[in-house]
């Protein structure tokens, strides 16, 4: 390894040990010089670089920051240039690049919308008064139990206090119409036996019997589309990957839900983890991928633990491995934790992050179905989308389509938060109206001022939108979006200006910084909104500027973050929630 240059900083024994532990799982992570000559032409820099993120997690946990010596050691072991390693580490919210002045855990308190209206600042101050080191940061994905807290442990596992004592925020238990959540609160999420008793792995057996092409045809005929916001037809995606024969292929579960207001995948993964594993296996067998990956938010320790347990138990019983339930097909799954970056929910940013690069989105085309993870054909779906497949395989596409509407078949999970009686996750058929959904959640607790649809990347609707049918087509026509299923209710007590300012600040913090329209646009947008709140009115030239910036971000940004960064603000202005009518 003669050609990488390092500073003189040396890792501590503890740091070396934890990095070695990460790399041990991969055997020799680096192919050394002699091997390289034999295997000429293989790019050294890409060999197991995907272990960089796990190594950084290990360093952060061991020392409370990424020390220069620790970074040097990880980079040396993985043969990653240290400047690039620093570029990767400094990309993420959960990694500190300066030695902390405090000793111990970091207590993260969410500062996004649902927590803003639930007393997050009071909580943060109380925690500080109790002697904790508090970090105020973006959405932690626990909006149903706001204000949210996540504890980043020093030399101990990360944790979420609410996991210990909060009841499951699920109020539809026993409802026979549930297609995705029927096992929630019924099944023991830590037990394969309990999963089998509750109908688990029946879909996999049937999928093997049907064969890959028939499974993909059923998914296509069902009309299932991606539930992360983009609504791309899942069957077309799977067909595309399956057709890339002769190349290694991947399936990825995008468990990086980070859209403020979104927590559905977390509740699903925590309470029915085997269903996510089963559906990912089906995706793998259908597309011909032998490797499955789960990329999950770093802020979801319980879901991570339960998915890992589900993988381990499933492997022991032959559902994963070299011969999946004697089908002759090989398939296995690895979990990777994100480290605090909203942008890594964007599929190509996720690939880069998993591969050990900065989580910057790639330009498309080419699309993941031909050039995905490691440049190889990849199908990437979120847990909600995947779990739909179980129902489609077991009951068939025709029966699946009996629910929902022609263009939005099936059911949809909604994350209902804010000012409703029973916040939580709800599964309803597409076509249910917004008002019906809010009623299902026990109704609003006050007079509704606005509802945020689809999260920060979505838009606000007013109290007159209660008859809006929750379908892809109807929301699009109404100029709003279902997005990832966020329905956040604000009553008239809320100062919407504060909410909107924070949304613009959120994008400012979460833009990856790669392309100019987004990197600068989100900052100028935030500055303009702050100025508006100080002056109290929106001057015409500034209104024009907001529109001009929005159009450029939507037209010229690389990815969906920039494309949607102005939506909530513009809708708030249209509805008069901010900007002069105060």
């Amino acid at each position: 390894m003669p050609d990488l240059s390092f500073t003189d900083d040396v890792a501590s024994a503890g740091e070396k040990a934890v990095v070695d532990e990460v790399l041990a799982v991969a055997g020799t992570a680096v192919i050394f010089e002699t091997d390289r000559l034999i295997r000429a032409g293989l790019a050294r820099r890409n060999e197991r670089r995907d272990l960089l993120l796990p190594a950084l997690h290990a360093l952060q946990k061991e020392s409370g920051w990424i020390s220069p010596g620790g970074l040097n050691y990880a980079c040396d072991q993985l043969q990653v240039p240290p400047a690039e390693g620093y570029g990767v580490a400094s990309f993420y919210e959960l990694f500190r690049m300066e030695e902390p002045e405090h000793e111990g855990d970091v207590v993260h308190v969410c500062i996004d919308a649902a927590c803003q209206v639930a007393g997050n600042e009071e909580l943060a101050q109380r925690l500080e008064a109790e002697g904790n080191h508090v970090h105020r940061g973006p959405c932690l994905g626990q909006c149903e139990r706001a204000p949210a807290v996540f504890i980043q442990g020093l030399r101990k596992p990360d944790s979420v206090p609410a996991d210990a004592d909060n009841p499951l925020a699920f109020h539809q238990q026993g409802d026979p119409s549930l297609r995705l959540l029927h096992r929630l609160g019924v099944v023991d999420p830590t037990s394969l036996g309990s999963y089998l008793e509750n109908g688990g792995y029946k879909a996999l057996a049937k999928a093997v019997e049907m064969g890959a092409d028939a499974v993909i045809a059923a998914v296509r005929d069902s009309g299932l589309s991606g539930r992360g916001g983009a609504a791309f037809p899942t069957g077309i995606k799977w067909r595309g990957v399956a057709d890339e024969t002769g190349r290694p292929r991947h399936v990825v579960a995008n468990c990086d839900e980070s859209e403020p207001g979104t927590f559905k995948d977390r509740i699903l993964m925590e309470n029915d983890p085997f269903s996510v594993i089963e559906s990912l296996i089906i995706a793998g067998l259908a597309t011909g991928a032998e490797r499955g990956w789960i990329y999950i938010r770093g802020e979801y320790p319980l879901a991570t633990e339960r998915l890992q347990n589900a993988i381990d138990q499933s492997r022991q019983s032959g559902y994963l491995g070299d011969d999946v339930i004697r089908s002759g097909k090989r398939f296995d799954i690895e979990i990777r934790r994100g480290a605090g970056a909203y942008i890594c929910g964007e599929e190509t940013a996720l690939f880069n992050s998993l591969e050990g690069f900065r989580g910057e989105p790639r330009n498309k085309p080419p699309f993941p179905t031909t050039h995905g993870l490691f440049g190889e054909p990849t199908s990437i779906n979120n847990p909600e989308t995947l779990v739909n497949v179980l129902d489609i395989v077991v009951r068939g596409a025709d029966v699946y389509r009996e629910t929902g509407t022609e263009r939005s078949p099936g059911t949809k999970l909604f994350c209902v938060s804010g000012h409703v009686a029973n916040t939580g996750i709800y599964e309803v058929p597409f076509g249910t109206t917004l008002g019906e959904l809010i009623d299902l959640a026990g109704g609003a607790t006050g007079e509704i001022q606005a509802v945020l649809m689809g999260g920060a990347a979505g838009s606000f609707v007013g109290p007159d939108a209660m008859d809006l049918p929750l379908t892809l087509e109807a929301t699009r026509e109404a100029g709003t979006t279902l997005g990832s299923g966020v329905v956040m209710v604000f009553d008239t007590s809320v100062n919407m200006t504060e909410i909107v300012v924070r949304i613009t600040e959120f994008f400012r913090g979460e833009s990856c910084g790669q392309c100019v329209p987004c990197r600068v646009g989100v900052v100028r947008q935030h500055e303009t909104v702050v100025e508006l709140t100080q002056k109290g009115t929106l001057e015409p030239v500034k209104a024009q500027l907001i529109d001009d910036m929005a159009m450029a971000m939507a037209d010229a940004s690389i990815c969906g973050l920039g494309h949607t960064a102005a939506g909530a603000l513009q809708s708030a202005l249209r509805l008069g929630l901010i900007g002069g009518s105060q």
Partner: protein, 288 residues
């Protein structure tokens, strides 16, 4: 990697640019098509001797059937593509990109960007009195070159030239995120402590003067930089047998900086420390 790598010779693709039929080689980009059609297109992060990273988005064009604008520098031309380079949407996005950059970055020495700002009517004044900028101080860590990140547009060119596209030294990378992203060594250590080998290829590709020969920087500080008087003499580097072409930029009978032509078959515009900086012996103080 050079532009030639991506073309498949022999196979042609027909596209339409602003109503004009254009034929390009399979694998060539929309930008290649624009150039062969004589359609002038602004670029910042693109260079012929680097892999396109399509981050500045100033070269965007409208392609029928695409929801968003597409970066012409990296989108391969496809048969039948209908491209618009001067539609309202294109002009708007180009103007906004230039305004955004001008609102937070010192573009005073970005000689290629200025005319485009005029062309598209970029109005940086409308962002108020004090839009947030880069807020960096000039890094002067040796006698060879300076880094003034107040002038940095994050075009990634220096990172590419330091890395895969030329030098394979990987001394710098983009660090941080969003508006706080900066070009940096690990933990921002000074260049002599980093992997930097002082090839100066980052200077060679920098479009804004953020990376600059110390000689040029000092003369600008002394208000003594007069590029209009420069003579440029092409010669061959005398240090080894590779045969790199050097362009000696001379002011007042003194070499003030050295470049190499981007289209030179040996260098593709890139040099090593000897060719780039090893000319002081020509003009030591003792010989003057």
């Amino acid at each position: 990697m050079t532009v030639a790598d991506k073309t498949v010779s022999g196979t042609k693709v027909s596209i339409t640019i602003d109503g004009q039929p254009v034929e390009v080689d399979q694998g060539q980009t929309i930008l290649d098509g624009c150039r062969s059609a004589g359609v002038d297109t602004p670029t910042i992060c693109y260079a012929d001797n680097l892999t396109p990273v399509n981050v500045c988005r100033v070269c965007v064009v409208e392609v029928d059937g695409n929801r968003t604008l597409v970066p012409s520098c990296s989108r391969p031309a496809e048969e039948g593509m209908v491209v618009h380079t001067d539609s309202d949407r294109v002009r708007h996005s180009r103007k906004m990109v230039l305004e955004f950059l001008g609102s937070g970055v010192d573009l005073s020495q970005a000689t290629e960007i200025g005319p485009w700002m005029d062309h598209y009517g970029a109005d940086t004044a409308r962002y108020g009195e004090s839009p947030e900028g880069m807020n960096e101080t000039v890094k002067i860590q040796d006698d060879l070159y300076i880094r003034d990140y107040d002038k940095c547009v994050l075009c990634y060119k220096c990172v590419e030239a330091c890395g895969d596209d030329a030098q394979h030294t990987f001394a710098i990378a983009v660090a941080g995120r969003g508006f706080d992203a900066r070009i940096s060594t690990e933990f921002d250590v000074e260049l002599p402590e980093s992997a930097c080998v002082y090839c100066g290829n980052c200077i060679g590709v920098c479009p804004t003067g953020a990376l600059q020969f110390k000689s040029e920087f000092d003369m600008r500080e002394a208000a003594n930089w007069r590029p209009e008087e420069h003579t440029v003499t092409t010669t061959v580097c005398s240090y080894c047998g590779v045969g790199c072409n050097l362009e000696l930029h001379v002011q007042d009978d003194t070499i003030v900086k050295v470049t190499s032509p981007a289209d030179h078959s040996v260098t593709s515009g890139h040099l090593c420390v000897k060719g780039r900086f090893g000319w002081q012996y020509v003009q030591p103080p003792t010989r003057r």
